[in-house]
Symmetry: C2
DNA sequence: ACCCCACGGCTTCCATGGAAGTTGGCATAC
DNA sequence: GTATGCCAACTTCCATGGAAGCCGTGGGGT
C-alpha cells in the first residue's frame, strides 16, 4: 500500500507530507465506513497499531480525531469502540443535512451567473448518471452518482465550513445509507427533485433553490428514518 | 478555575475524570478566546507545556483537537499558530449559524406544548436580561444575556449535533464578536427580534420560528460583516 | 451452593528521548 | 555591499516505558 507522490504544486500549499497520523486516520475512517470495524466493535490501540504496522502513538492521535468526528469513543481505560447509530442519530444527522444543504443550494444560486452555470452543469451530469444507473438497475452506480451530486452541492457553495460539516455528518450516516439502499423502493423521485434544485440554481433563484434542496432532504428523512425504525434495529 | 462537579446522573454517563488532555484543551481554548494567545501568535508545544505545568504529550493531543475545531493550525515543524479570522471567515461562520439556528428554532417550535413553554420561558428570561442591560447601558451584561439566548436555542432543540456545530462556530467567532460589540450602534433591535422568535416557538409555529430566527441572524451578519470590512482589518 | 474480595492481565494515559526537518544567522566568497 | 552556503538551534513526529485504572476470574469464607 504505497503512498502515491503528489505532483508539485505552488508553494501555496505547504506540501503536506504524509504523516503516520494522517495515514492511520484515513485508514481507520475507511475501515469504519466499510464495516471492517462493525459498530460496537471494541479493540485496543495496541491491536490497531499492530494491524497498521506502526507504533501506538500515531494510532492514539488518529483516534482522538475520529472521536472528535463522532465516529468512535474511547472508554477511559477499557479500549476504543465504534459508535453505533441509533434511529435517533439518523434523525439528528438528517436535520443537520436539511439545514446545511438548503443553505448550500441557496449560496450556489447567489453565485455570479457564470460560476452558477458551471456548477449546474456538473450537478446535471451527476443527475444524468443517476438516471442512467436507474435504467440499468445498478444501485451501486446510482448511490455513487447521488453521492457526487450532494457532494458537489456543498463543495462548490464557497463555504468551507459548510463543506466540512456536511462531510462529517454524511460520514457518520454512510453505513446506514448503504444498509437502506437495498431496502427501500427504487429511488425514482430523486432525479426530478435534483432537476428542480438545478433549475433554481441556474436561474439564480436563491429562495427556490433553498426550498427545493430542503424538501428533497426532508423527503429522504421521512422515508429513511421510519424504514430504519420499522426493521426494528436499535443500533447499526 | 475549578471544575464544577456535575450533579449525579444515572450511570449512563461514565463519570468522566479530568484528564490532563482535557485540562489543556479547555485552558488553551479559553486562552485563545480571551486573546491571551492573540491571532497569529506562534509558539511551540514545549513552551505551552511549560506554561501549563505538564508534559508535551497532553498539550500535543489537545492541540490536535483544537486544530479539528479550526482554532489553531500546526505548521509541520515550525510550531503552532492561532488561526486569524478574515472577514471571509466571518461570512462563512454566519452562514452556518443562519442555517443551524433557524433549524434549531424550528425544532423547538415542534416540541410538545409543555416543553416548548419551558424553553420559551427561559428564552424570555434571557431577553428580559438583555432589555435590562440595555437600560443600564451595560454592554458586557447585554452580550452575556444575548449569548445565553442563542445558547439556549441550540442546547434545548433536542439535537446534540446541532448544539455541537453551533458551539464550534460561535467559539471561532467569539473574538470578533467581542471586538465589534463596542463598535456598532446600540443593539436595540435584538430584543424585538428575540420576542418574535419566542412567540413563534410558544405558539408552535415552526415555519415562523424558522423564519424569524433566520432573519435575526441575517440581520446580524449584514451589520457585522460590513463593519469588519470597513474598519479595514484583514485578520483578527 | 453462593458471595466477596484480592490479584493478575490488559488498557489508556502521560513522560521522555531520539530522529527528521525547518529556520535564521553567520561566515565567506565575489 | 551583496549573495550564498553551511551550521546550530529549535520544532514536531514517533517510539517506548512506567504509572494508574478497570475488569474478569478464581479462591476462600460463610
Amino acid at each position: 500500500m504505497l503512498v502515491n507522490k503528489l505532483h508539485m504544486r505552488a508553494k501555496q500549499e505547504p506540501e503536506r507530507k504524509p504523516s503516520l497520523v494522517e495515514d492511520a486516520y484515513k485508514a481507520l475512517k475507511d475501515a469504519i465506513r466499510n464495516n471492517v470495524f462493525p459498530p460496537g466493535y471494541q479493540g485496543s490501540e495496541q491491536e490497531i497499531a499492530l494491524r497498521l504496522g506502526m507504533s501506538r502513538t500515531p494510532v492514539h492521535e488518529a483516534i482522538i480525531r475520529l472521536q472528535e468526528d463522532g465516529l468512535v469513543r474511547v472508554l477511559s481505560k477499557r479500549g476504543v469502540t465504534v459508535c453505533p447509530l441509533a434511529p435517533e442519530d439518523m434523525r439528528e444527522i438528517y436535520e443537520v443535512i436539511i439545514a446545511i444543504e438548503a443553505m448550500a443550494a441557496e449560496l450556489l444560486a447567489a453565485l455570479p451567473a457564470e460560476e452558477r452555470h458551471l456548477v449546474a452543469d456538473d450537478l446535471e451530469a451527476a443527475t444524468s448518471d443517476m438516471e442512467q444507473a436507474l435504467r440499468d438497475d445498478d444501485l451501486a452506480a446510482w448511490a455513487a452518482a447521488d453521492d457526487l451530486f450532494h457532494r458537489t452541492l456543498v463543495e462548490r457553495c464557497g463555504n468551507g465550513r459548510i463543506r466540512r460539516i456536511a462531510q462529517t455528518v454524511t460520514d457518520q450516516a454512510h453505513r446506514a445509507r448503504m444498509l437502506t439502499l437495498r431496502l427501500r423502493s427504487r429511488p425514482t423521485g430523486s432525479v426530478a427533485a435534483h432537476r428542480d434544485i438545478i433549475a433554481a440554481i441556474r436561474k439564480g433563484k436563491a429562495v427556490a433553490a433553498h426550498q427545493h434542496a430542503r424538501q428533497h432532504r426532508i423527503a429522504a428523512r421521512d422515508e429513511l428514518v421510519p424504514l430504519i425504525v420499522s426493521i426494528g434495529i436499535k443500533h447499526l
